[in-house]
Amino acid sequence: MRGGPDDLKGGVLMKASELKQPVLQRPGRALLLLAVPCLVLTGWIARNSSKETPAARSSSPAVGPRSEATAPDEELEQLKRSVSALQQKAVSLEGAVLDARRAALAASAQSAPQPQGPPDPKVDEEMHRERLADLDVALATDTGDARDRQVAARTFQGQLETATEGRARVVDVSCGTEFCKAKLEEDTKVAGELDTNVLVDKAPWVKAEAFFDYEWEGTLKRTIVYAVREGRRFPGSTAPTEGQ
């Protein structure tokens, strides 16, 4: 049966986009609004007419000419009251439908994408970690020339030692065909943190392109650097072959 909560809800959802359209500009809806009171009114008249059977009339007390004249007036008044009541109901129903639509729109607005705020630190960090994990895999599975990699590791270690000027210890260096990884340790209690910009500016391979990661153990800071070798590219780089 139409008019139940489900139907109403379905109707609201389906027509929510038409909220701004005036009611009178929707012929189907206007007809429906007119048809419902008319049908109810017709039914009410038919019901009352059927009660006025000849038997009923004969069983009713005798009425004089005055009573005969009053009855249609009362019926007319009743009809007017009924029509008025139905109109009020129609108006209140229309209001309820509009309220429901507004509520549906408000709900959909809440679920719509919100303006972007600052990046989620977790997402940012996860993406960075994934990239570093990829580089670790690439380094571990590199099958390039072992001697070339050793020479590269010594070169990189020298660059880092020069750049840090003794403020950090280069504790581990390994190189692949394309890039190197190094771990630097510094006690921040002694002279504060080493400015990473110094490392970038003074170590040529770090300057060219590098990734960084950090570990803390009390005041001991470890900086892990992945730096591309001269003339090479990181795995997965989208740079054209000739670079610049």
Binding site: M14, S17, P113, Q116, P118, P119, P121, V123, D124, E125, M127, H128, R131, T196, N197, V200, D201, V206, K207, A208, E209, A210, F211, F212, D213, Y214, V228, R233, F234, G236, S237, T238, A239, P240, G243, Q244
Partner: protein, 160 residues
């Protein structure tokens, strides 16, 4: 028909819009500023930034904007600079920091030689992360015989 338009049309438009969208964040050298302490050598001419002193190099930090709907990928960063110093270059390091300000990635672009015409340099970062936190740090050579070296503009391009 109405239902078809209500549901099918937005769906179709969404599907059309889903393929990668590219965004470019363009800046002029005028947006660059001193790194830590005010530096009287840093000067501006039109849209360019330059080192107006004749002795030392100057460092400027240049902002790079980012906006996104989903996690974007940085496809390219481009620098247009004029290097009129035969000894030093306009040397720009692009940096990506996390929300704590810690350096995660750096890549370099720098001019070469010396000429009166602008040089265009490109960086295709090995990191795909296009979330916020990008900036560019440039060293500007000192005046050379009255000639200035400038950063005139730069941009970052992302795709989603």
């Amino acid at each position: 028909m109405n239902k078809l338009l209500t549901f099918a049309l937005p769906l179709a438009l969404t599907c059309v819009a889903l393929p990668a969208s590219s965004r470019v964040y363009w800046h002029t050298g005028y947006d660059c500023h001193h790194e830590i302490q005010a530096d009287a050598c840093i000067s501006y001419s039109g849209v360019s930034v330059y080192n107006g002193c004749g002795s030392n190099n100057a460092v400027v930090v240049c902002p790079i904007d980012a906006s996104y709907t989903n996690a974007p990928t940085v496809s390219q960063i481009q620098l247009v600079a004029t290097d009129r110093n035969p000894t030093f270059d306009v040397d720009c390091t692009v940096q990506k920091v996390n929300t704590s300000g810690t350096l995660q990635y750096s890549g370099n672009m720098k001019t070469s030689g010396s000429s009166l015409t602008p040089q265009t340099k490109n960086l295709f970062p090995a990191t795909g992360q296009g979330l916020a936190g990008w900036r560019m740090r440039c060293t500007l050579p000192a005046l050379d015989a009255g000639n200035v070296s400038t950063v005139s503009h730069y941009f970052m391009q992302t795709s989603e």
